[in-house]
Amino acid sequence: MNILNPTKVKILNKILRISLMLVCLSLASCSVLPSGPEKLGLDSPDFKPSSVDSWVLPNGLKVLYSFNDEVPLVSGALYVPGGALFEDSKLVGLASATGSQMRGGGTTTISPDRLDLMLDNIGASIETGFGDEFGTFTFSSLGEDFEKVFSLFADVIRRPGFDEKRFSLWKQLTANGIIRRKDSPETMASMAFADLIYGEGSPYSRSISSSTLRNITRSAMKGFYRDFVGPSDSILVLTGSVSKASVREQVDKQFSQWPQQRRRSIEFPKVEHTPNPGVYVLERNFPQAVVLVGHRGPKRHSADRFPMHIFNRIFGHGGMESLLFNEIRSRRGLAYSVYGGFSPGPASGEFQVYAATRVEQALEAVKGIVELAKKQKIEAPSPEVVDGAINSTSRNFVFKFSSPAAIATREALLEMLKFPVGYNETFVEKVKQVTPEQVFEVAQKRLQEEYVIVLVGKIDPDKVQAELKDFGPVHKFKFDEKPIIPTYEK
């Protein structure tokens, strides 16, 4: 037997104590970490967005300004009501032409080449364009070049030159773009979907064609410009490393004498088309089919806006945790990209689901999407799911205010799109009031029984006919520079 001597015992005791201490320390250290993340990060962000300076010029131009000197840059945007929805049907593409050529065509005193050079030499940019509802004209530069670039920006907006040569180049590039639409299954599918739900030729579906391109002239662009570009109801946003005094001085100098225009009235065209639900197939040599499923939807400012917002987040706008993602991608492995929901518009919106899936399983994807949409009409979402979407939405709201530019831009866009005053301030509160019943009501009321289904890819229409006949009549369609959809039923 090996008997320990007292010295050895002391040493062993010491080792034991140290070991125990280390174990305790280690346990203490471990115990600092929660066993799970359930209770972490659930506090709502505590924030109050910084305010934006704003004032209105006598001509009606509203100015929003926010200082930010983190980097020595300055940027601005002018938003002007008017856009492609207000074009003449023979001049589809006119808004796009005007937007492009306001900047591309130089000014009445500065040639396009010289303007390009002046901006490129100092790393500045000016861009102009029209969307469906409003025009967006932007600039950016180093703070030290603010006066110079802002003066050019004002010149582009107030005195565009619409240079003849640049306009002819735009026409050539646009004509080429029309030809290349056929290279993209997404482009062809979305053009067909728009025609089907809004009607061919509707301001909400039409796209520029070779014939309307021919009709667009410099004089038409100047007319469109005169009709829409002016100070009243327009909003100018300026942010960056430039002082308020300097901004005020320059805005006054460049825009206070801008005469009020007699703007064409901004009245959104009505949607009168009655869609024909069914399946529309474009057979093209793409190994992956693009699938669009949907129907027309609500206007932007509907009473059920907040429940619809929550519905969207749950159904298919919420990213990886949405029902669509979970069912079509994670559970069935059918698609890499799948998303969808309601997209409200000015006079009518739409409900649309997008998926891209290999052609062999495209029909399974269609069935899965329709099944999931129909399920929302008969099964109310659980309170837990709705709570999750509400919390996600309200905690996420802080990101709308992540920079001075984001705050000012958001304020301008909400006003352009006629959101009610106080929308920002009451958003979280309103979202938190949404109930599962209201979300279910959105699904029941807004989701239709029948869908327009568009398929583009290397798909055998006969197979579609056999497998998807329960989804309505199956039509083949063609695509030249735009969809050619038969109006007859097969």
Partner: protein, 512 residues
């Protein structure tokens, strides 16, 4: 989740190809360098002084930048693992692994890992069990067994639990990306969710479970179809790399070859994970408002639990031999024509690397750039033309010109006109003022990337993971400022000759 990083060629953002470039080690001279560095230091001194870098006890590096405009932060985890680390037969594995990192851990994504684990093992065995293809009955039995196990697992899994928990906390931009050179995981959260982020991210690194493996393998194959098979530019780009490189893994597609992707296994993935997801091969970047938080202490407590790495980090030994003669390939497709031209170029620390950023700006940045002015506006033979660098930055890469001919113009005509421009730049000097303007555009591009948590985090993280030093961004900037018209002329002469060009073009061919 999960995009894989498109090469610069598809982003066409010029400064991206510049600002992550590494530092010069050889040129300019020390005396000259000091002067130039002072310029860059002055411009970015505020930024540089706010970056805190420290190492955890296991060697994991951290970059922290306090930025307090709003109570939010960006958290990114960078891993020095990309497509370039793969071998033929397993292409796409890094990107697939990035997808699987969203599937949870032994606590996230499952109702009971104790019940799940044996089923996962069983499924793995069944999926790799080979049956005689002629034995139909055995095949059916196997399929039935697989479906049964899948069914049981679906009852245990909590799909997308990882992302649901993030979204509940108000996360935005929850995503990841895989490039040739690295993998990055990213998310933006309210500051109040910092502890949550620490818990979730350290958990997925410490206890990953690759569940839903085979369904996700289908998903990445769909991703390939979207990015390559359905996309004319994607097909052409894949052909470009396979033509320009003969031996280096830069020739392999990040997304993977179809037959490789269909056979990737969980066993291979676990080995790959163990090899590359080691503390000294990763960088954490935090940018945002984390006032009042013990950032360093918390990171140590959560991420310090990862084992310290043993032995040297993995190293690639394959080198591409110098190209001799032009290489040409053609892709036939129903789409309209387009082309790529490419030349091999060096990577850092070769001092020529940064000069390419200035060349890009001169050639293709802005409406007054040479390509736009001559090819699009004056001769009207191109719908667009740009230059960029691809496919990566860790190893010698390619200077790439991409262009789309106007209707009625052949790829060959456009190619020759582009080469003429390059030849001219090899003969004549670009003016001092044009070079100065190009540098200014690069500067504005760099500043523009610094106005968001995400932008700053990406800039710092990429430089640190690739070059082990985030300050290389500014070293590179110094080099750019030092570039002269003579440098550009010499650069073109040295690298952009048609004799060592790769020309890959898409020609329209109608199918039957």
């Amino acid at each position: 989740m999960k995009c894989f990083v498109l090469p610069h060629i598809l982003t066409t953002v010029l400064f991206l190809s510049f600002y992550f470039l590494p530092a010069a080690a050889q040129s300019p001279s020390l005396e000259n360098k000091k002067t130039i560095s002072d310029l860059a230091s002055e411009e970015f001194s505020a930024l540089r002084s706010k970056v805190k870098k420290f190492k955890l006890s296991n060697g994991l590096r951290v970059l922290f930048y306090q930025r307090d405009f709003a109570p939010i932060f960006t958290g990114q985890i960078w891993v020095k693992l990309g497509g370039v680390d793969e071998v033929p037969g397993q292409t796409g594995l890094a990107h697939f692994l990035e997808h699987m990192a969203f599937k949870g851990s032994d606590t996230i994504g499952t109702k009971s890992y104790r019940k799940e684990k044996p089923l996962l093992n069983k499924l793995e065995g069944l999926m790799n069990f080979e049956v005689d293809p002629s034995d139909e009955s055995a095949g059916k039995k196997l399929l039935k067994k697989i479906e049964d196990v899948q069914g049981e697992l679906e009852g245990i899994w909590k799909p997308n639990d990882f992302s649901k928990r993030y979204k509940l906390r108000g996360a935005t931009g929850l995503n990841a990306a895989t490039s040739k050179d690295y993998t990055v995981y990213m998310v933006n959260l309210p500051s109040s969710a910092f502890d949550f982020w620490l818990w979730m991210e350290s958990d997925r690194l410490l206890n990953p479970v690759f569940r839903q493996f085979y369904k996700e393998r289908e998903v990445i194959q769909e991703e390939r179809r979207s990015r390559v098979d359905n996309n004319p530019s994607g097909k052409l780009y894949e052909a470009l790399l396979a033509t320009a490189y003969w031996t280096h893994p830069n020739r392999l597609p990040i997304i993977g070859w179809p037959s490789d992707m269909a056979n990737l296994s969980a066993v291979d993935m676990r080995k790959f994970y163990k090899k590359y997801y080691r503390a000294d091969n990763m960088v954490i970047v935090l940018v945002g408002d984390l006032r009042g938080q013990d950032v360093e202490g918390k990171l140590e407590r959560y991420f310090g639990r990862m084992e310290s790495a043993e032995g040297p980090r993995p190293k690639l030994r394959i080198k591409e031999e110098p190209q001799v003669g032009e290489r040409v390939s053609v892709v036939y497709d129903e789409a309209n024509p387009q082309l790529f031209m490419a030349w091999h170029k060096p990577a850092w620390p070769n001092p020529d690397d940064s000069k390419f950023a200035v060349l890009h700006s001169v050639l293709a940045d802005g409406r007054s750039s040479i390509f736009h002015k001559e090819l699009v506006q004056e001769k009207r033979i191109a719908l667009g033309a740009y230059s960029t660098e691809a496919p990566g930055e860790r190893y010698p890469s390619l200077f790439v010109v991409g262009a789309t001919p106007a209707q009625g113009v052949t790829n060959e005509t456009l190619r020759d006109e582009i080469q003429k421009i390059l030849n001219r730049l090899g003969d004549d000097l670009v003016s001092e003022s044009d070079v100065a303007a190009a540098k200014r555009r690069v500067r504005v591009g760099l500043l523009g990337a610094l106005d968001s948590n995400n932008g700053i985090a990406r800039m710092l993280g990429k430089a640190e993971v690739l070059w082990d030093d985030w300050e290389m961004v500014f070293e590179s900037y110094d080099q750019i400022l030092a570039t002269t018209p003579e440098d550009l002329r010499d650069l073109v002469r040295k690298y952009l000759s048609p004799d060592v060009r790769t020309y890959t073009h898409l020609e329209t061919k109608k199918s039957n």
